[in-house]
Symmetry: C2
Subunit: 406 residues, 2 copies
């Protein structure tokens, strides 16, 4: 009996140690719009965070001759300030994911992270469609980045859960009125004269080169999961809005970036900025496009939930729809116009897409894991007042229109 008690005690003790052990997470692209607040959120939640970033997003600002509306600080300064206000250390490693493979592999082998969050992709649809060289850059960067991360996990022989930021834009049937499921579609197929049920990866129908690379990423994930048994969560994210999180608010030097330019500014952030400077809200076409949205703070929470609910090694790729609200673009414009008094300007749609579409989507899994969404209605005016208006003197109005047409 004594031996049995001793063993039982040890099992409990070891499992407690395992719970308490600080989990190490690599954030690829941890200096970017989603990556930075996610890094702080996970650090605040007790994770040991290592940011891997080669500043490619800041370099794109240089190329486009634009700047974040908010005065973001150099990463080294951000990390020093975070250490001062939180007592927590975040390290930074400069590796170009997709090119410096050996460096990435050595990092995995030496750090043995519990999870990797992969933001290291070119993430603007208009940017990906500006020219042939932007199409090429987006395909070459995004595909080689994702494949390198997967190949390095396999070569490291470590059991690392990969959490990837995908997009709602990979889905195909946005116009049918069907509620989009989370990643997989139940279909019936006629085989040998019989109708059989199958569940397939949702057929992708991307609207830009950028979105297409995320659809190609899905094929990489499916293959590495099937062939190498990798544990992968793919988060199909809606359009992210908002700037600050409870972590970035803790010091003015921790402020997150806010893009309002025609290439990197998402529709809602552009509206907020336009409202702040009383510049008519530019609606593409009829504004009849329905889009899915999520607040930046909920992005951070969702990623933590994804890390803490990994799939089993024998599971297929886990796909979650990371969005909390769906709105028609012209309704959003009207909402902001009503709240702020700014006008609305309808302009030609630069994109090849349906003028009007319906969109319904399932997001049950994150809600079940405990996500309690921040709503547009409650946070919208805060954003206009505390971010857009506050920094409006930094706005270059010439950069607002989307000049990329396709």
């Amino acid at each position: 009996m004594l031996l049995r008690e001793f063993i039982r005690f040890n099992v409990i003790f070891l499992s407690l140690i395992n719970e308490v052990r600080v989990r190490k997470v690599l954030i690829l692209g941890g200096d970017g719009f989603c990556g930075w607040p996610t890094s702080l959120h996970l650090s605040d939640a007790g994770y040991e965070v290592i940011i891997v970033d080669d500043f490619s997003r800041r370099k794109t600002d240089v190329e486009l001759e634009v700047e974040s509306l908010t005065p973001i600080r150099p990463l080294g300064e951000r990390l020093r300030v975070w250490r001062d206000v939180s007592g927590r250390n975040i390290r930074h490693v400069a590796i170009t994911i997709g090119k410096e493979y050996r460096e990435l592999l050595e990092l995995l082998v030496s750090e043995k992270p519990y999870a990797i969050v992969h933001f290291a992709e070119q993430r603007s649809a208009p940017y990906s469609m500006k020219s042939s060289s932007h199409r090429r850059l987006t395909v070459n960067n995004n595909l080689s980045a994702t494949n390198d991360v997967l190949a390095a996990i396999v070569e490291s022989k470590l059991d690392i859960h990969l959490v990837h930021l995908g997009t709602m834009g990979v889905y195909g049937y946005g116009t049918t009125g069907m509620k989009i499921p989370e990643g997989y579609l139940k279909v019936q197929v006629e085989e040998d004269g019989e109708i059989r049920g199958r569940e397939i990866l949702y057929p992708s129908n991307p609207g830009s080169i950028y979105h297409m690379t995320k659809a190609q990423d899905q094929l990489l994930f499916a293959f590495y999961n099937k062939n190498d048994g990798l544990r992968i969560t793919d988060l199909h994210q809606g359009i992210v809005w908002g700037t600050q999180t409870s972590q970035t608010r803790r010091d003015k030097y921790l402020i997150n970036r806010f893009d309002y330019d025609g290439d990197y500014g998402t529709v809602l952030n552009r509206f907020l900025m336009q409202a702040a400077i009383n510049y008519p809200l530019t609606v593409h076409g009829t504004g009849g496009q329905k889009r899915a949205f999520i607040h930046i703070q909920d992005t951070c929470r969702s990623i933590q939930l994804a890390i803490e609910h990994p799939p089993e090694k024998t599971d297929r790729v886990k796909i979650l729809n990371q969005m909390t609200e769906i709105h028609r673009v012209r309704d959003l414009a009207k909402l902001i116009s009503d709240k702020t008094g700014v006008g609305i300007a309808y302009v030609d749609n630069p994109r090849k897409e349906s003028a009007e579409n319906d969109l319904l989507a399932v997001n049950d899994q994150l809600l079940e894991m405990g996500l309690r969404p921040i709503t547009l209605n409650e946070e919208l005016l805060n954003e206009v007042e505390q971010v857009a208006k506050k920094y409006s003197s930094r706005c270059d109005q010439n950069k607002i229109p989307c000049l990329s047409r396709w």
Copy 2:
């Protein structure tokens, strides 16, 4: 009336000129196993052929320390001999597709080809699975090559029909007994409580990194077709066997390559070579895998048919199953064993795949265009006698086993 007659005459005259005009075709990868005989076939058929090739296939032989069983000549010599025996000129341009984008674009703009045949991809499944660096090379090379070709066609503003060599290996349901359609699958989906019919790109289920890149290529084609109106034919090719065509036979210096090594040797060519040197036919696992085959001469004919039956600009991507026969691997081994007396050796399957699978596939479109297939039964012994036995002294038996395992 005179004017009307005059106009009518001119219309007829111009359309005749258009028919007679020599059509220019670029063959990307025109020095390789399928590319070389295709270049000669099209040249012989009256096309003006330009080979674009950076000799990457020959360089891979150097890396793997193997050689074609047949003594292939340098490309410059091949082209001189072809000019002598045919009176036809084939030019060669050395451009690395996927890297030298400007050179490719300038070539399109200056030559204005009628069609491009795209073979410029790493095409061995075992090679793509040898190591992380081979996975990376295959993804980076194949995706950037295909995207560069598509982006260059868009940027050139020319209406060029792209004919791409895909693979039967992208299909997913090889084990269900369903007859695989040509590229698109009819499914029924429940939408808003109603069952609706949809036709989708056949859900891919690739078995190697190589096959996966061809599935990713499909997403590139679908996007460029939808967004930019490109005319694209994707040929989902079976396993190619045979060596010589009616063009390569015209001089010993025109001989095509014959790969028998564990990485690049296709199953049937390896069997032929093994039969020639009385080396037991190595069958992976139970040999229960059914595979689709096509003779190299039929590959050339199919590509000509594809060029001559382009899709309309408003059509979706045209997908043809480029295969003529389906056999179970152990049945093939038995057929060759019976004809030649060589033994059969069952070895562990190095691949992750079903031990036994059924395979049925539609190939109606090429047959309707006029393809009259060469059958295994009629050509098999010729291959053993005229190629494999003739050059058997050049065989390095150590290179036969497939050492790449996954």
